[in-house]
């Protein structure tokens, strides 16, 4: 059971890290709008639709 004396402090460190990451995320506005950013994938310039080409005949 002595492994717990190492693992428990490790979990503490991880919790602190996770908390820090979350605080950063909140502060950076990541949680301000949970709906619109899903649309960011469409934000790039739309590729122009390829010009209508006649289907290539089977070779």
């Amino acid at each position: 059971m002595s492994i717990l004396f190492i693992l428990v402090p490790v979990t503490l460190v991880l919790v602190v890290l996770a908390g820090w990451a979350f605080f950063w995320a909140v502060g950076a506005g990541q949680f301000d709008d949970l709906k619109s950013p899903a649309w960011d994938v469409l934000r790039e310039e739309q590729p122009q639709p390829p010009p209508e080409e006649p289907a290539r005949p089977e070779q």
Binding site: V8, G19, F23, S36, W39, Q48
Partner: protein, 828 residues
Amino acid sequence: MSARTVDPLLLPHRSAETAPESANQGCFHCGEPLLGSRLVAQIDGRSEPVCCQGCLAVAELIAGAGLSDYYRFRERVAERPTLTEQQDAWSAYSLPDVAAQFVRSSGECDSATFAIDGLRCSACSWLVDQSLARLDGVREASTNASTGRAHVSWDRDRLDLGAVLRAIARLGYRPHPLGDDNLVQAQQRERRNALKRLLVSGFGMMQVMMFAIAIYAAQIAGERMQPELLALFRGVSLLVATPVMFYAGAPIFRSAWASVRAGGVGMDVPVSAALLLAYSASVWNTFSDSGGEIYFDSVTMFIFFLTLARFVQMSLRHRTTEVSDALARQLPACAHRVVDGEIVDAPTSDLRPSDVILVRPGEVIPADGELLQGDASVNEALLTGESLPVRRRAGEQLTAGSVNIDAPIYMRVSATAAASGLRRIAAMLQRAQAHKPALARAADAAAARFLRYVLLGAGLTAAIWLAVDPTRAFEATLAVLVVACPCAFAIAMPAALSASAAHLARKGVLIVQPDALESLAGVDRVVFDKTGTLTRGEVSVQRCIPLAELDEAQCMRIAAALERASEHPLARAFASLSSGEIADDVHTFAGAGVEGVVAGRRYRIGSPRFVAELRGAASAEAELAATVVALGDEQRELARFELRDTLRESAPGVASALRERGVVSEILSGDSSEAVAAIASRCGVTRQFARRDPTEKLSHVQALQAEGRRVAMIGDGVNDAPVLAAADVSIAMARGAGLAHASADMVLVGENLAVLPEAIDVARRTLRVARQNMIWAAVYNFGSLPLAALGFIPPWVAALGMSLSSIAVVLNATRLLPRRTVNGGVAP
């Protein structure tokens, strides 16, 4: 509760096969009935029917910019864009004086925040972002769909505020620049802080619980834990619980301290007492060798639940728009002042009494004043609720906030914007809000009484145990405080309320004030405003009286052909009759009517005097009400049309559905008595009151309340705002004025009145579930209190019991959520 978000990729794409069918579905852009319109928009090579020129322009603009993905992914149809608003109104915002009120400058960059009306889903915000990003000079544009706000920054040399506003308006939305975004920032700060607290308490609870379970497991199994390990677990629990206690729990202690200083006992007082006691005892026991219990698990769990409840409440509160913000949107930011015969644009706030200003057609009158010359047709719907334009003659008063309909008018300002009628209504609203009967206040008082007994009981327990067996005094007292802590009590109402709020949101009813449902369940009188509530607030042809040989249908056809080209609000009444015939050589005469050639003959439609002039006869009769329109050719008058507001489809059934639930309906309107009587008879409402101004409406509702009635008020205009605030429950229509929203408890998003009886059902069911929850919580609290006082319950069992009772309450509340059917739909 946010509307259900749908994965856009799962939505069926509009395929070419379905396009022909859409002809009988409604407008491709706004979804409203096509009403015979033959207009067609070209979207990605397909022809889609649209209902009006406005929709056509917006749809083609969107498609032309390659943004037609908006139509595939949107969750709701768009609002119908209004073209009556003069497009060039935005150029005034380019003036440095006007822009300075809204724009913040840094370096070469200008930025501003906008509130955007008509933003309905994430697809809308994507569309706005995209269009702005394509504007030359825009550096950054971000639109938040949930708050309806956009933040845009641009290069000062290449773009100005007016151009940005115009770009948003072109898409069919109504942008309002916000001068002061302190409120937005304050709310954002509050939300971020609350989120951090929620996380700290949640993480902390999980960590501490992990160690607590290990300790309890050893106790239950009767094993002795390795003393070093026990010490480690306790030490780590202390480390984790401390930030939870003093960071996440800080607001609880602050509010408890505030209520103690105010001389009261709030819900937070015994909570704080229990938390402080449990925490300090645990700290003591961690460091002393006495082997006493630690209660960090109870402490963190407790704080987590309380923080969660606070977070939910805060989110609901943030939905309400701030009154002054909504009010600021009603008046234009810029006015055209006439100085020495020249027209100079100036900020509205600079207007002084006796200034002469020009108001162009379609613009909002910026200040109260006197009409200087000619006649004016103005729409005072914002103030009186009357949807039809009224005539004003030279020398008569014009009120700020009304819209100038057809001709440019000159007026002399009599009061500054700050002192205008609109502001007076806002002041009245604030007074009415102060008198709002709050059921929550009564509940708080009851809880406070209960809490006094709890504190008293805890004190007694401590005193008696100290006399009998001092070693067990602390444990028993703590158990009493934890057990009696009305946690289940505290979340009984919020849990039930938020579950049914989620339910109602899917039906199109948005709960703005958390305690609205509670009040709605007890309602026995529903008061409807007429215009914009029972009716659509749009005119249609009520009656056509043929005066010559042409029959009704022929007259209607000619009228529709002539009015097609007009963007006058009254002209829309004829849009539904359009046969696709188009008049040639059409001229619009501001303030009078339209002249044009249909099938080779010249006709005029408009005011009787204007029509009479075509045949060279001066009409002797006085100007009739603005709701009468004449049609004539070069020889004679052909017909008269009477225009009326149209009834909503859902209106007639509401009164009887409400009656089945024991609720009496009333109509309370500012409109004329005939108009009200007509609507009342069609809706089956017997109690009707016409010609009531906002003050009379307010006193009417207050009189009903004095009789002991619980009144729900449904309205849409700014004029309704004070009444809405005074009613026990107020419901605003989604398209109504922003100020009405601000004072409403609920908003009917779908504008479907039929959901109202349903909402009452849900509210009553909610109250039933909440009552069950309260009884359960009371049984638990009162039942366990004596046991805890007698020392039968150790604090950890008390904490567990408290959590279980809370979970039971939450599970009971989930019964209020709409049931899902197998295919993912929602059962009725």
